[in-house]
């Protein structure tokens, strides 16, 4: 029982860390109505820039993070200006295909410029676990989960309460109508992509510390697909719930089912859940009942 509780705790914290990356998907979907298939690559490239600044130039962590922040802002703006702006008003599938192309480009660009050798981002967080009753908690996961919760609250407020958030949702609903209503669509596109970049940076810092930094870090983006499908592509609360479900399912599968079958179930169990969800409720637990075939 103690082991099961530990697994649930581990899975919950991991799931909240998935949520942080999943937030990038939701952010883009809510503002552009498209899925950003390069979100994992955003995480990878942000982490590689920060780790590269530390390893190559010996910058202190804070300076490296600041450079990473500026890089992701410029990256988001450039992406909006040169890749996505020309697509305003075009079918959503065009934007989706552009993000898929971008993902492959970044996977090649990362090692080409920064090298393929893996490294890590050493955050000033102790490694020693915290024992709390039957729970066994890792400080980095607590920090990662904390960052996720703070950001999810902040974005929840932003989308629901702020004028800019309402405008972004309007842009997502219809580019043409938004423009007709005087909303600067380009600006909100840029804000969305920049913010997705910043979320990716935070995810990259936490996951880069957890699992190291190289192109494989982009795989975290794939892990997040079941999260957003389960929770609902356009729901911030769905991201939290989906993240926790995926994290806990993974942990329990690894702890109880993998030993019985010799391993291998952990990684695809969330995708089984995702397929089941798509069959019975394709818009997710908290998503809008709006289905489009693409």
């Amino acid at each position: 029982m103690e082991f099961a509780i530990s697994l649930v705790a581990e899975g919950t914290l991991t799931g909240l860390m998935y949520s942080l990356i999943a937030l990038g998907f939701v952010l883009i979907y809510k503002s552009t109505d498209a899925i950003n298939f390069a979100q994992g690559e955003f995480v990878m490239i942000a982490a590689i820039v920060v780790a590269g600044c530390i390893d190559w130039f010996g910058f202190p962590l804070l300076v490296a993070v600041l450079i990473g922040f500026l890089f992701m802002v410029v990256f988001g703006m450039g992406l909006e200006r040169f890749v996505l702006r020309p697509m305003i008003g075009m079918p959503i599938v065009s934007i989706i295909m552009a993000t898929i192309g971008l993902a492959f480009f970044l996977r090649g660009f990362g090692p080409l410029v920064f090298g393929a050798a893996p490294t890590t981002i050493n955050l000033p967080i102790p490694d020693s676990p915290i024992f709390w009753g039957p729970l066994y908690l890792k400080p980095i996961m607590l920090v990662g989960a904390g960052i996720s919760i703070l950001f999810l609250l902040a974005f929840g407020w932003f989308f629901l309460k702020s004028r800019a958030g309402v405008a972004m949702r309007a842009v997502a609903d219809s580019h043409q109508v938004s423009m007709a209503m005087g909303i600067n669509v380009e600006r909100f596109f840029a804000v969305a992509w920049i913010t997705a970049g910043i979320v990716a940076l935070l995810g990259g810092l936490v996951w880069g510390n957890m699992i190291g930094v190289d192109t494989q870090l982009a795989l975290v983006g794939l892990k997040v697909f079941p999260v957003v499908i389960l929770g609902g592509l356009d729901s911030i609360i769905g991201v939290v719930v989906g993240g926790i479900i995926v994290g806990v399912v993974e942990a329990l599968t690894s702890g109880f089912i993998d030993p019985m079958v010799g391993g291998g179930m952990k990684d695809f169990a969330p995708y089984v859940l995702m397929i089941v969800m798509l069959m019975i409720r394709p818009y997710g637990i908290f998503g809008r009942r709006l289905i489009e075939r693409i």
Partner: protein, 412 residues
């Protein structure tokens, strides 16, 4: 008449000289070398492949193999089977005299084809372990401790660390969940019969970027006495970091040969994180070997600094070792044939003729034969101590009879 005789002799001499010149004409000898500079196991190739090329360059800078230049044709296969098969077809069409596959799945895919094509290959430190039996796999050469030999050595090391008796002890085998990772299991089960330890296996799904719950299981539920770590690519760093976070004693962990590089340690957070970690090596670690000095001198003579990859001595040294074995086998083949017109079969024979090959102490004496394509199966354990690798054993092998029995069973 005298004039005619003189003319005839001169003509014969000219023809003879032309023939001699023809046979002595230098030839490019092609080695098909698969690499993994990108993809999930890039941590290996980014250091190993430069070591390989540097040694080949060193040989060529000294005139090649008896005047024949060695061409190492590299293809980055990204640890994937389809590019490996494509690369092999290219090597075959180029007339490569030797092919160096990379990775157990790729080797498994190519082993029969290479045998049919009579092209020799090496698989230093990875599978298929059964290829150590040269009578069953005549064209494949592990040339270094196979996963079976590594497993046997790891168990022996664990036994020594745990006071000389494994009865009732809990051994955890954390493995990369693919054919390479699973190779150690038969040997663990075989030795278990005589040593009486408890064994549990923990598969880490590829590419191994998360292993938190497996480590939780190893440390909190199973409570292993010793951990054998047979993962590679990104997984070693992740597992090591997780073990550290779980407070598991790192001196009770031993990593197989692809979980032990300086790159893995850097990605795990640095030397302090893995203080005490034991690592199996089949080539020496560090920079103090004559062959490495020769490479540094080569760079110096060219007015260049030594390459960055030389800092990653675990894999760089293995690249040098592999290249040196390849060159030596080709040299043996050229000598035996009397010309550079050698075939894969000649190289196979040249490989089997390797005896007492140590590369200046970088590797244990390699003793190859038709029966033993592994060359002895020796390893050395290095431990992380205060920011560097320190050897804690001599070259050794263990449970050899068990390993050979399993090999014989494969042969039947």
């Amino acid at each position: 008449m005298s004039y005619l005789r003189t003319f005839g002799l001169a003509a014969l001499a000219t023809a003879g000289l032309a023939a001699a010149a023809s046979t002595a004409q230098a030839k490019d000898l092609i080695i098909g070398m698969m690499c993994d500079r990108t993809g999930p196991t890039a941590v290996t190739g980014t250091a190993l492949c430069p070591g390989y090329h540097d040694y080949i360059d060193l040989v060529n800078s000294k005139g090649g193999v008896m005047g024949n230049k060695i061409i190492a044709d590299e293809v980055d296969i990204q640890y994937k089977v389809p590019p490996a098969i494509e690369a092999y077809q290219r090597y075959k069409s180029e007339g490569a005299v030797l092919v160096s596959p990379y990775g157990t799945p790729m080797t498994a895919a190519l082993i029969k084809t290479m045998e049919e094509d009579k092209i020799a290959g090496t698989t230093a430190g990875f599978g298929t372990a059964a290829a150590a039996n040269g009578e069953k796999y005549p064209y494949m050469f592990p040339i270094a401790a196979s996963y079976w030999s590594q497993t046997a050595a790891a168990i022996k090391f664990a036994k020594d660390k745990l006071g000389g008796d494994l009865k009732g002890k809990k051994i955890a085998y954390i493995f990369y969940d693919n054919p390479a990772g699973r190779e150690g299991i038969p040997v663990l089960e075989e030795i278990q019969k005589q040593e009486g330890y408890e064994l549990r296996t923990f598969g880490v799904p590829a590419p191994g970027v998360e292993a938190g719950s497996q480590v939780l299981d190893v440390t909190r539920r199973y409570r292993a006495d010793f951990v054998l770590l047979h993962v590679f690519g990104r997984a070693p760093a992740v597992v090591l970091k997780e073990l550290k976070r779980a407070g598991y004693p790192m001196d009770h962990v031993i990593g197989y040969v692809w979980a032990v590089s300086e790159g893995d340690i850097a990605a795990a957070g640095g030397w302090d994180v893995v203080e005490g970690y034991n690592t199996i090596q089949f080539a020496g670690v560090g920079s103090d070997y004559p062959v490495l000095q020769e490479i540094r001198d080569m760079y110096k003579a060219e007015g260049k600094d030594e390459p960055e990859a030389m800092k990653y001595t675990v894999y760089y040294n293995r690249g040098v070792f592999q290249a040196a074995v390849h060159v030596k086998a080709i040299e043996n083949a050229v000598k035996a044939k009397g010309s550079a017109d050698i075939t894969g079969t000649d190289v196979r024979d040249g490989m089997e003729a390797l005896h007492g090959f140590t590369l200046g102490g970088l590797v244990p004496p390699l003793e190859m034969s038709r029966q033993d394509h592994e060359g002895g199966g020796f390893v050395q354990v290095f431990q992380v101590q205060k920011g560097k690798y320190v050897p804690v054993t001599d070259w050794f092998r263990a449970y050899r009879d068990d390993v050979l029995r399993l090999l014989a069973a494969e042969h039947q």
